[in-house]
Amino acid sequence: MSQWLEQVIERAEKVSDHLSAKRGEALSLLRQQRWPNRRVEAWKYTSLTPIEQLTLVEGATNQKIADIPAIPGVNSLDLVFCGGRLVTDLSGLSLPKGLNILPLSQAQQQTLSLFASIKPKQHLFGLVNDVLAIDGLLLDIEAGADITQPIRIVYLSQKDSESHNRLLVRVGEGAKVCVIEHALGAQSSLATEFAEYKIEKNAQLEHYRLNLRSGKALDVGGNHFFLDEKAQLNSSLVAFGSDLSRLDVDIVHGGEHANAKFNAIYLLGTGETFDLHSCVEHAVAHGTTEENARGIIGDRAKAVFNGRIHIHRHAQKTLAELNNRNLLLSRRGQVNTKPELEIYADDVKCAHGATVAEIEEKALYYLRSRGISRSQALVMLNYGFIQELIDELPNQALADWLAPMLRSRFEQMEVK
């Protein structure tokens, strides 16, 4: 076991609140955990060394809160965490009808039933989050409510500190909501942010995870969704890489005729690491899943995509598509991709695939020989497959804000 994990357990033993029963369960699992090395499948390609070397303190609230970047035109209701603490005064918010927001510490009844009920137990850092996430939020959207204002959770890291936050969301029957999880920071820090979403019958969730941490900001998190009958999920991930950035996504089709769409974009600059593990469980019939992950990997950067769709024996008439496309900008970049379909039902329609492309030198030369700059030529030749996913983002204002930011990140990446 690593020293870091020992510290986690030590700290966890002192935590005591209404979630103690749930936390205790996670703690006993953690005690049995071996610190993963490269032989552990879930961490085969991503090294935990940056975490092993950490000596961080838990975040303190007295530090100055960095500017919160606005997303023009989105007009979101912002809930801000800084260094692991909720810094938004909930009592000062005027909430639309049908939306209830409670801190983890107050939402006793609902939290107890949601907490760790959707997130699978095998995620090591999910367990860490179980025992250490003191601050967090419960968003409860009442049945039938149509919340038009997007809710944005902003996670700011603080220098040399650790933060662990939990988000629990219930989208009640027939309700509609948009949730944006927006994480940022580049200073030396570690964050675990895990979110559990229960999307009830006929409900719709539009979801964004903007993992925009980079540099020395280590980020290990999870998004876990449960879809009841006819529930609809449209989730989009936009990720940079950092010294270590990892996201586990789980989607469970628990009711028939549910529909899940998950698009992921990752743009990794020089030396960055990003690891995406996703697992979709089709436990019942008539579910639809469409998953598209696309990334550009810069010099000495490293991407991991492990996508799994598991179609259980009774999940007849499932439609599932899983695709991963990558562009390597350098021979020294690395991508490990493994899209997997595991099918135990016989009447299903499924497809999966992965590609890794390199820069086409001849085409690049041809465009440049006509006066087009190298960076512009690279955008013309290679950016289309990323732009396609940006164009699919359901929130136009958010897409307009992201597009130039992502494009300039790409233009600054060096081709070697």
């Binding site: 085409a363 006509r370 006066g371 700059s373 030749l381």
Partner: protein, 253 residues
């Protein structure tokens, strides 16, 4: 316009150009002929700054500028244009988008304003007509699925749109039917002017009946081995390259 002195260049450690000299004044048309593998295309690549083509000795000046110091795109903006022997297919980028970017990049370098979409379309349509390509070629991917002759005409269309100072045409005549050959020749002739020069690489005298050269050079084994006027091309057409000693000597060695 262009002054090449003692140019040596290699590809993957193999010496291809071995001391090439050539001087071109404004308004002149120079034809370059020579056996397969002599280094004609290599010369075009070296002049346009293709990666992997390393200049090991010599110098190239274009309009008083050291050409070898410039990046490929800067050379194009300075007025160099190479019509490729084998144009690349680029699916996913439309011919229209490609040419608009390229025209505007070059206009910007000249200090001119970017063309509006409408103005560009008008120009592109005219250029299409000049090389006898249907308009829907603008919408297709760059050279994607174009026939050999269509690719060559597409190159000439780009030349017309970009208004370069020095045009290098690398076998723009090969693979063309008789009518297309005339179209290409007409396209080139329409661009001839006192301040624009041409290097026309060809294997056949035929093209030179339409585009009359001021000089004809024979390039063999990486050097210009003979220069003359238009009559030299006719001579080569009759006698071939058997008279070139160098190749024969190499065979013996």
């Amino acid at each position: 316009m262009l002054k090449i002195s003692n140019l040596h260049a290699s590809v993957e450690e193999k010496n291809i150009l071995k001391g090439l000299d050539l001087e071109i004044r404004p308004g002149e048309v120079h034809a370059i002929m020579g056996p397969n593998g002599a280094g004609k295309s290599t010369l075009g690549y070296v002049l346009s700054g293709r990666e992997g083509y390393e200049v090991t000795e010599g110098s190239v000046e274009m309009q008083g500028q050291n050409l070898l110091d410039l990046e490929t795109e800067e050379r194009a903006r300075a007025g160099l244009f190479l019509a490729f022997q084998y144009p690349v297919e680029i699916p996913g980028v439309s011919n229209m988008e490609f040419m608009k970017e390229s025209v505007n990049a070059i206009r910007e370098a000249r200090g001119e304003e970017a063309l509006s979409a409408a103005d560009f379309l008008k120009k592109a349509k005219e250029a299409c007509k000049q090389v006898n390509l249907p308009l829907d070629f603008l919408k297709r991917g760059v050279n994607e699925g174009f026939s050999g002759g269509e690719k060559k005409r597409n190159e000439i269309m780009q030349m017309i749109l970009l208004e370069p100072k020095l045009c290098i045409l690398d076998e723009s005549d090969s693979g063309l039917d008789i009518d297309a050959l005339q179209v290409v020749a007409k396209g080139v002739n329409s661009q001839r002017s006192p301040d624009r020069s041409f290097i026309v690489v060809t294997h056949y005298q035929r093209l030179l009946d339409f585009i009359e050269p001021d000089f004809v050079h024979i390039l063999a084994d990486g050097k210009i081995v003979k220069s003359g006027d238009a009559s030299l091309a006719k001579e080569v057409e009759k006698t071939g390259y058997a008279w070139l000693g160098a190749k024969g000597e190499e065979k013996e060695a």
